[in-house]
């Protein structure tokens, strides 16, 4: 049994975000982090390893710099890592991305007792689409929004799938793909020995050349050219017209507010 965990390095949008003049994101100016939901998925994988002794394999698609994130995950306890990286993969939308990641996962090999974990969504695109699309391309059952993952003696997984108004409990046979929400479990810190060992663990780069014979990889299904969606426009929203700062913060201020609202029939 192994757990393949798919992760992404993303710009940290919680701080200051720099926008280029053409309305695109100035990625170079922003620090990168491991996507929160993906870290939660990695922790879920490591907990399965703690309990069942399975192997944990981390996979990402991204630029060469994403190796640092994979080393972090190896330090946390993952056993090996794959960096899927090639200029030919650039500009991929979720469809093309899932095509490439699914091909990489297929290359790594999916055994009958394997589980694939993804984060629910990445904070840069917020699409939540790549996980389900990888599952479809691999023909695997999917369970999204996992709030709890358990293994039965039979080897089936039982997942609490969160809904806005409650949850469902779902059972699936392996192999299957599960997407994890960040509340699933707080990620651990790398241990000192983990950090020492992380550069000894295998990290393989998979390029277009390595994957081109995979059935999922066709020139018209990857990269910008293989992406069904295109960005027609990218823009920044305008600031709303300036409002009124009321004077003071006392009884008269509130009276002023109430009369202004009353005059406009807002209350």
């Amino acid at each position: 049994m192994k757990v393949i965990v798919c992760v992404k390095q993303v710009p940290d949008t919680s701080g200051k975000v720099a926008v280029n003049e053409d309305g695109t994101l100035n990625r170079a100016s922003m620090p990168v982090i491991t996507n929160h939901d993906d870290k939660s998925a990695a922790e879920a994988a490591l907990r399965l390893k703690d309990k069942y002794g399975c192997r944990v394999v981390a996979v990402t698609m991204g630029p060469a710099a994403a190796e640092s994130m994979l080393r972090d995950l190896l330090a946390m306890g993952a056993d090996e890592a794959y960096l899927v990286s090639d200029r030919a993969f650039g500009g991929s939308d979720t469809f093309a991305t899932s095509q490439i990641v699914a091909a990489a996962v297929h290359r790594i090999g999916v055994e009958p007792d394997d589980i694939i974990l993804c984060g629910r969504q990445a904070i840069d695109g917020d699409t939540a689409q790549v996980g389900p699309q990888i599952a479809e391309k691999l023909g695997l059952p999917q369970i999204t929004y996992a709030g709890d993952i358990a293994l039965e003696d039979s080897g089936a997984v039982v997942v609490r799938r969160m809904l806005e108004d409650g949850y469902m409990t779902i059972r699936a046979k392996t192999p299957c793909l599960i997407t994890c929400i960040k509340e699933l479990n707080p990620p651990r810190y790398p241990s000192v020995s983990g950090i020492m060992e992380c550069y000894e663990k295998p990290l393989t780069v998979l390029t277009y050349e390595d994957l081109k014979d995979e059935p999922l990889i066709e020139p018209d299904t990857i990269g910008l050219k293989g992406s069904p969606t295109n960005i027609a426009k990218s823009f920044t929203p305008p600031l709303k017209g300036a409002g009124v700062m009321l004077e003071g913060a006392d009884r008269n201020t509130v009276t002023d507010l109430v009369s202004r609202l009353g005059a406009k029939h807002i209350i």
């Binding site: 799938r161 469902m168 699936a172 823009f235 920044t236 300036a242 807002i266």
Partner: protein, 378 residues
């Protein structure tokens, strides 16, 4: 792997706007009505029909309601195998129906179920899907008008002529990206259907039309679905015992943020009382939820809910872009914050720079008096 063949590059062969109508325990979701209302607009722009797709076990009685909000036709598939939502059953039926009837647009609510189902279908159909849209257009003139009002682009940046040339009849799907710092309009020019999930609470519900509802056209397509098609087993469906906060339907939302940290209990009580006086509900910023002061269903913002109440009152909320993304379309925004430089004041219609623990009790008192005076007059 699944065998599913579908030729979808002849975009001219696709007609009609479809809405996947999600139901839970036999009840429609509010997103269904929002999407049917929005879909009506798109179908009119394309001079085509609007169809709802309703999958479940004994759900046909919901069809007139969908028609009343603007659907011309409802495709209904009923089976005991559809009693509980499963990705496999719903994806199979949606994809099979799309292959047979060839709609040009397919919309889903961006709920936890819509966002589970839509990507699976888009991958199988080999088409584009735009996630969590907040605005949709087909008509270029309407889209240009939208850009003029909602972007910092100048006329050259909008490029109306180019839009006509390149995306005349494509669905233009607009959504926030990077936590709301940027907006992007996505198109799917080469494949059909163009697919989108649409953020709950954003599209306006149309007026209900009794005559339309009574004239509902129900179509029951033949479909094949077997137990073996479904790879997961639903063991139980549990509805949260606690009443969820209905932020989306509220006319007034009073939200609290970091500013209540000095006395969380009192801050929440004040926010709740102010909401009660105005007939509204209590919400909160990400800080208030992440700190455990309020449950997640209270959260307003990019990662929470998008609200557009008539009145939005922000108490002790600085106005991070993530929060603004969820409330800046509100009718009237009132902000109380100690820091006069807080970004929330940039979008507030009325700002009070002061201590919420002092200001809010006065607001409660005076709003109550104003309401009572109005009630006695009216």
């Amino acid at each position: 792997m699944q065998t599913f063949t579908f030729e979808n590059t002849d975009t001219a062969a696709f007609h009609g706007v479809w809405v996947y109508c999600e139901q839970r325990r036999g009840a429609l979701m509010s997103t269904d009505l929002e999407l049917i209302s929005e879909g009506r607009k798109l179908a009119d722009e394309l001079h085509t029909e609007l169809c709802g797709v309703l999958l479940g076990d004994g759900v046909a009685a919901l069809a007139p309601q969908l028609a009343g909000y603007g659907a011309d036709k409802i495709y209904v598939c009923e089976s005991p195998l559809l009693h509980d939502y499963t990705t496999d059953a719903h994806a199979k039926l949606i994809c099979d129906l799309v292959a047979e009837y060839k709609p040009e647009i397919l919309l889903f609510g961006a709920t936890n179920i819509g966002r589970d189902l839509a990507p699976r279908c888009a991958a199988r159909l080999h088409t584009g899907l735009c996630a969590d849209c907040t605005h949709l257009d087909v008509d270029v003139a309407s889209y240009v008008e939208f850009l003029r009002a909602n972007s910092t682009l100048d006329e050259k940046g909008i490029g109306e002529e180019g839009l006509h040339q390149r995306f005349e009849s494509d669905l233009k799907m607009t959504r926030p990206a990077f936590g709301g710092h940027l907006m992007a309009t996505i198109v799917c020019p080469r494949f059909r259907p163009a697919m989108a999930t649409v953020r709950p609470g954003v599209m306006q519900r149309a007026a209900f039309d009794e005559a339309r509802a009574a004239a509902v056209q129900i179509v029951r397509p033949t479909f094949s679905l077997a137990a073996e098609d479904i790879q997961t087993e639903v063991l139980e469906v549990v509805k949260a015992a606690r009443e969820m906060v209905d932020l989306l339907g509220a006319d007034v939302v009073v939200s609290v943020g970091r500013g209540i940290a000095a006395d969380v209990e009192k801050g929440i009580a004040l926010g709740q009382e102010l909401a009660d006086v105005l007939g509204g509900v209590l919400g909160g910023s990400r800080v208030s939820v992440d700190s455990g002061w309020l449950s997640a269903d209270h959260q307003v913002g990019q990662t929470g809910k998008t609200v557009h109440p008539k009145i939005y009152i922000a108490l002790g909320i600085s106005g991070a872009i993530q929060h603004k993304a969820g409330m800046q379309e509100s009718g009237c925004i009132i902000a109380v914050n100690k820091n006069p430089a807080a970004p929330i004041f940039e979008i507030a219609d009325y700002g009070i720079a002061g201590d919420l623990f002092k200001v809010v009790p006065m607001m409660i008192e005076q709003f109550r008096a104003a309401r009572e005076a109005k009630a006695s007059v009216g």
